[in-house]
């Protein structure tokens, strides 16, 4: 039985981590090494590792107008602001659903959730037409609004789960003491729900950070995010600059790896919209 377990886990682990290991190695190589037909694996023995690829990220790659950090900046601004908005609105919304009797609240909640299932490409055309009319195409604000509305469903569902766990007696005590509803929410619920808000923020941040469909179609010029930038480098006339791409990808995925580690206890909740709690 032990052997059977090892036979499942070890090969899968090796195969699953190999691509990420290869990414890290590629970022340390020279261009010629990355497309060599003699693959090299061990730094310092097989090939000379260097940080040149990381250093050259501040210079634009041939064929692109700006350097990597410009696009990273776009990604950061868009992801942070949309996350902030989604978590604030989502917490309020979840509080309402958690504490008040709302006619048809179940249907509303499921309607909110269903917006999360929409494929970006199926709704992008009307959004594009709308954005052109209001001058939001290729702007930071446009993507922030869109990501906020798409993350709101996730935020509401996750936060509702967290707020449901806070005993109602706490705020009832505050209400008896003469606090208004809003003050009770601000002074009792919010401090109790900070973990939940942090977890929700991590998941909203990750989904905005990784989004590609909308970013590609609505935002291909001014406020281009990193995934769209990388996708655009595929057809580079001077050859795909693999070391720089790998170095950029390392920087781009590093925060997400960190967040995954930090939020590991809540991953299950996050990926199932809070429907499974542990």
């Amino acid at each position: 039985m032990k052997l059977a377990r090892a036979l499942v886990i070890v090969p899968y682990f090796v195969l699953a981590t190999l691509p990420l290991g290869w990414l890290a190695l590629t970022s340390l190589k020279s261009y010629d090494d990355t497309i060599s037909t003699n693959a090299t694996f061990v730094p310092s023995v097989d090939f000379t590792p260097s940080l040149d690829a990381y250093r050259s990220l501040s210079k634009p790659v041939a064929g692109t107008p700006r350097d990597f950090y410009h696009y990273l900046g776009n990604s950061v601004v868009i992801a942070l602001l949309s996350t902030l908005a989604a978590v604030c609105l989502g917490t309020l919304c979840a509080y309402g659903f958690s504490r008040f009797r709302i006619p048809g609240s179940k249907d509303w909640l499921f309607f909110i959730l269903s917006t999360r299932f929409l494929p970006p490409l199926a709704v992008v055309v009307p959004v594009l037409v709308m954005y052109r009319r209001f001058g939001l195409e290729s702007t930071h604000v446009g993507l922030i609004l869109l990501y906020t509305s798409f993350n709101l469903s996730l935020a509401t569902w996750l936060m509702k789960g967290f707020i449901d766990e806070i005993p109602q007696a706490f705020e009832e005590a505050a209400l008896v003491d003469g606090y208004s509803r809003l003050a009770a929410f601000g002074r009792v619920i919010v401090p109790q729900a900070t973990t939940g808000m942090a977890v929700t923020a991590v998941f909203c941040l990750i989904s905005s950070w990784n989004e590609f469909g909308f970013a590609m179609t609505l935002n291909n010029y001014e406020a281009k995010t990193v995934p769209v930038y990388f996708a655009g480098l595929q057809g580079n006339i001077d050859g795909v600059p693999w070391p720089q791409i790998a170095a950029g990808m390392m920087i781009f995925v590093a925060p997400i790896v960190l967040f995954t580690v930090l939020a590991r206890k809540h991953l299950l909740r996050g990926v199932t919209f809070g429907t499974i709690k542990q």
Partner: protein, 272 residues
């Protein structure tokens, strides 16, 4: 913000709207007639269906097997799990762009490793028979951890005393698996499969990154919409596709919603 696009989408699907502008005329159901009659278009529908079926079932079986192996105590289990879960949290399009380097038929590391083992070195990215499998492989790599995570939750929720009772009754390992483990995990596995199916229906990122939107063997509905709207400028026709995929997604989402509803009621956790 969420509702308006849906309604507008249905309206556009009955017009000949063009991305470059110009007058919009209502043309009735002609877009739908075109959509369902041309081979290229129905092809995208069947590619998507095949992709959903294949990816969800492979990931489910693999993820559940992994969960079974990882179920009992293991030194460093928590760290191991975290590492295994990382691929599903990272950006799909960015990682699949990098997979292009791994899968490259000439200098890709996969073929060099296969060559080292004296195995055939197929052209993963250019062979028409393999492109779809390559995309599927990347998707399986990315999303098997998701199935594993939910399967583990299901396995951990099975009360220990049931297994103890089975042991007293001298039930065989296979019998225990078939009559206790599998049925008690089934509700969560169903949930996982439904969640993944709604995601796989949208498949766009991997296709864009690995083969591009206009490849006959891998064109999913989302990729087809991209091609029709942003390369051919046929907004009306693209919207008709949008409506078709929306109907499919809403159907799956409705099943999903009913499903968790029933699940909650059965486990007595109905708080919604």
């Amino acid at each position: 913000m969420n509702l308006f696009p849906l309604i507008f989408n249905v309206y556009l699907s009955f017009t000949d709207a063009d991305l470059s502008g110009g007058a919009v005329r209502a043309i009735g159901g002609r877009n739908y007639t075109v959509l369902f009659s041309q081979a290229r278009y129905t092809n995208a529908l069947s590619t998507t269906a095949l992709f959903v079926l294949a990816s969800v079932s492979i990931e489910l079986v693999l993820g559940f097997t992994l969960a079974l192996a990882l179920r009992d105590h293991l030194p460093g289990k928590s760290a191991l799990l975290t590492v295994l879960l990382i691929p599903m949290m990272l950006c799909p399009v960015v990682l699949s762009l990098f997979w292009n380097l791994i899968l490259n038929g000439h200098y890709g590391v996969l073929n060099q490793l296969l060559g080292g083992l004296h195995l055939p070195q197929p052209q993963w990215l250019t062979d028409d028979g393999l492109k779809f499998a390559s995309i599927l492989m990347v998707d399986v790599w990315m999303w098997t951890p998701f199935m594993m995570l939910i399967s583990l939750a299901g396995l951990n929720a099975i009360p220990k005393h049931i297994y103890e009772a089975a042991e007293i009754d001298r039930a065989g390992r296979w019998l225990v698996f078939r009559t206790i483990t599998l049925p008690m995990c089934a509700p969560l596995l169903g949930l996982a499969a439904l969640l993944r199916a709604t995601d796989a229906l949208k498949q766009f990122d991997l296709v864009m990154a690995i083969t591009g939107p206009n490849d006959a063997t891998t064109q999913t509905i989302s990729a087809r919409i991209y091609q029709v709207v942003f390369r051919d400028y046929k907004v009306g026709l693209g919207s008709a596709y949008g409506v078709v995929i929306l109907v499919a997604v809403i159907a799956v989402a409705t099943i999903f919603v009913r499903y968790i509803d029933a699940l909650n009621q059965r486990t007595g956790k109905a708080r919604v």
